[in-house]
Amino acid sequence: MGEIEKRIDAIKEDFELFDDEIEKYEYIVDIGRSLEPLDESEKIDKYLIEGCTSNVWLICEKRDGKLYFKTDSNTVIVRGLAAILVKIFSNLSAKEIRDFDFSLLDKLGFSEIITPTRQNGLKSMITKIVESAQGENA
């Protein structure tokens, strides 16, 4: 099992502690609230992934051969879900991300992440993560 799948399984285990779906989302709201917000100067079009009414900003930085992601959103649940994705894919080499089977994200069971909807930009966020990894040689 690769590092990314291990991280997904760890998050899945966290969520399995909740009895009902709503409690899970209350937890995601808390994650969204606790996420360090991006500086306003970083919320620029270059980093913007537009949804229907939710916007997500995603910044990719490379340090010591590894990719790190920072994110923010104008809506709290999308912010929480985006924070989870950043936690899964940060501090990895581009190759690790490129080689990852993204269908494994389905394990988390978030329809907001896996559905190709134009609603919230999360699917596009994943595409951006992949593109960031593809643009790097490491």
Binding site: E21, I22, Y25, E26, V29, R33, G51, C52, T53, S54, N74, T75, V76, I77, V78, S111, E112, Q119, N120
Partner: protein, 395 residues
């Protein structure tokens, strides 16, 4: 009381409040679609064997049903398309383009009645004019008249009911006024027929676009009513199979309407299913549905209005079907996600009506779309869930 007519509710526990996106389908609609595929699946207007003749007959009977349903004068006036979007694009391309200097639309249009005009190179005050509305989204008829006076060669294209806000436009007045100034009128009726009757002769409308799937019928079927007097001036949008009387390598002679406008194999099952949907409405009777739905809508409005921080964009007068709202300080998307987890299905977003959302200074709304199969219990569950979502999302 109407839920029992819809199989969807036997198979789903969710409260379906997204009928402005698409309606659920009564048993008989699903049955008629199935019956076509199971028992007499054949192409129409081509072959002459028994099942093909039956398919053609059922298809053309639907045309008659639609004609009677909207009180058109002739089946030639009833043309099947795949959607209201296609109907509007068809008339934009085949009748309006190069004929009219100006197209006048309302502030509440769906993108389907905005983008086709942009594709013709029109923009605001450059071949496209938009009628103002007030803070309750009410159509400004005086502004409309001024636009008609200022734009002598205009075409009017207006939605009957706003998909985002449920506001009913006074289209009879709009059509009368437009005709007074010599302008032809197309009405986007996507959100109408599910809720109230439409009489095209009484309205004296030139073009009226209908959606089957929002009217308890199958997806992939629309109708454009074209007043007989306009038919000669409407060019076919696409040509090909089933539109032709005679072809040589030098020229093509097209059939008469409606066939010249229906190129290629149509959505036969869908069209046949649409007849069943219209018959279902007749069986339920509009007068009953209108009373019932108005009561539900007003109940919903009243309950929403009691919520702290609620932002409503219309009053409940002259509205039907859709009701849009926001909660102060919260995102509509977040509300929609949490409601979904509580088995409440609504739509959140700009509802393909970005210009009016921008005018209102918002990204979008949460929209409740009620229909005949919703009841007060649905609304109570929705309100209870909404209150829970607000508690979760508020700091």
């Amino acid at each position: 009381m109407y839920k029992k007519y819809f199989e969807y509710f036997k198979n789903n526990k969710n409260i379906y409040l997204d009928s402005a996106s698409t309606s659920q389908k009564p048993y008989e609609v699903i049955e008629s679609v199935n019956e076509y595929y199971k028992k007499y699946c054949s192409n129409t207007h081509r072959s002459n064997f028994g099942n093909a003749n039956r398919a053609t007959t059922e298809f053309e009977d639907t045309r008659k049903t639609v004609k009677e349903f909207i009180n058109a004068r002739d089946t030639k006036e009833i043309i099947f398309t795949k959607s209201v979007s296609e109907s509007l694009n068809f008339i934009a391309s085949s009748f309006v383009k190069d004929r009219f200097d100006t197209v006048i639309i309302s502030s509440l249009e769906h993108h389907s009645n905005i983008v086709p005009w942009h594709m013709q190179g029109r923009s605001l005050h450059n071949g496209l004019e938009v009628v103002d509305c007030d803070e309750q989204q009410t159509f400004d008829i005086e502004h409309f008249e001024r636009l008609l006076q200022e734009n002598k060669n205009a075409f009017v294209s207006i939605t009957h009911v706003s998909n985002a806000f449920g506001k009913i436009h006074p289209i009879k007045n709009i059509i009368q006024l437009a005709h007074k100034y010599g302008a032809f009128v197309m009405i986007d009726g996507a959100q109408s027929l599910a809720h109230f009757p439409v009489d095209v002769q009484d309205l004296d409308v030139d073009f009226y676009a209908i959606s089957a799937h929002k009217t308890y019928g199958p997806t992939g079927v629309g109708v454009i009513y074209i007043k007989k007097e306009r038919l000669d001036d409407v060019k076919p949008y696409q040509v090909g199979g089933a539109t032709i009387k005679d072809v040589t390598y030098d020229r093509s002679i097209l059939l008469d309407s409606p066939f010249k406008y229906e190129a290629g194999t149509q959505n036969i099952a869908g069209v046949i299913g649409f007849a069943s949907a219209l018959k279902f409405i007749n069986k339920m009777k509009y007068e009953n549905l209108m009373t019932y739905e108005t009561n539900i809508y007003e109940y919903l409005y009243e309950k929403l209005n009691e919520i702290n921080g609620i932002i409503l964009y219309t009053d409940s007068i002259n509205c039907i079907g859709s009701l849009s709202f926001n909660i102060q300080g919260l995102s509509a998307d977040d509300i929609g996600i949490l409601l979904d987890k509580m088995d409440i299905s609504i739509r959140c977003g700009h509802h393909c009506a970005q210009p009016i959302m921008k005018k209102l200074g918002i990204n979008g709304t949460a929209r409740v779309g009620v229909s005949m199969y919703n009841n007060e219990e649905d609304i109570d569950k929705f309100i209870k869930s909404l209150n829970r979502a607000i508690v979760i999302l508020e700091d």
